[in-house]
Symmetry: C2
Subunit: 149 residues, 2 copies
DNA sequence: CTGATTGCAAAAATTTTGCAAGCCT
DNA sequence: AGGCTTGCAAAATTTTTGCAATCAG
């Protein structure tokens, strides 16, 4: 995949060695549209490279985060999930059931230039999350209110 | 503080009992403009209510997250930090040094109505984070590049 | 009163670290 | 060859859970 090759380059340029364990993690990261936690990343990367150690995944994720390639987010209850940092991520998160809906349109881009001016900040990506209650959970809530009367 | 009273009400309305431990946590949450991790919340809440247990903080944070009062975010390396969920949060996060800059203006509000229409999602708050490199870290990077030539 | 809540201690889960062996470059 | 990387196992941290005692309503 082209995307993976670009990531490999970024690692290499930053002075890191390109090793099979790192390639396995990169493969997983670059393939997934989903959000994965470290444990899931380990599992999937192990199908590519059996014997891959958990510590290596953490160490690689740290590097990738440092380089701005991935980024941990919190969503719902569970622990951290890693997403590709490039570009933007846009989620609707239901605070009741934890469901995540992705959407594309985003007005954040408009702000990048202004923020760069004001704060002298070189922006490479963004995350926009809306929190609220999804339709299904609202129905449940209404049902419960009704019941409790 | 007025803010705290509102939170107390929301807890009460949701059917939770108002107890000293919960009040202590609410006090900390409502006072802080900062982002706090569970451990810091415990520490501060214990100055209000010595003997407060760590588990209670976690349990309370879970409730508050559920109610959409606070929300965990990941920023920089460390673990989760809790912020008030109400309204919006807007951060610039430096991926090099982890520095966080808050800013106010936000175009996200414009999207709320549209998203509600499209996904039937009742939006209560949002988080907008821009990731990049701050001025100081860029200077450092340039210096290092220069050195390595 | 009565069930929700608490603190504690133990258990789980998650993350980090030390280190000898192995692998990129 | 030399130093960065790795996997492992142990350590450290963070979070969850079981339970008897306590407390809010």
């Amino acid at each position: 995949m082209r995307r993976k090759q670009m990531l490999v380059e970024r690692l290499r340029c930053a002075g890191y060695k390109i090793t099979p364990p790192r390639l396995a993690v990169l493969e997983v990261i670059s393939q997934e549209g989903e959000h994965l936690n470290p444990n899931e990343i380990l599992g999937r990367a192990q199908t590519i490279r059996p014997g891959l150690g958990r510590a290596t995944v953490y160490r690689t994720l740290e590097i990738l985060t440092q380089l701005g390639i991935v980024r941990p987010i919190y969503v719902g209850e569970s622990g951290p999930m890693y997403i590709r940092a490039e570009g933007g991520h846009h989620h609707l998160v239901c605070s009741e059931c934890g469901r995540i809906i992705d959407f594309d349109e985003c007005v954040a881009e408009e702000m990048v230039h202004d923020l760069r001016e004001r704060f002298d900040f070189e922006i490479t990506s963004h995350l926009l999350e809306f929190y609220g209650v999804c339709a299904a959970c609202r129905k449940l809530q209404e049902a419960n209110e009704f019941k409790s009367r």
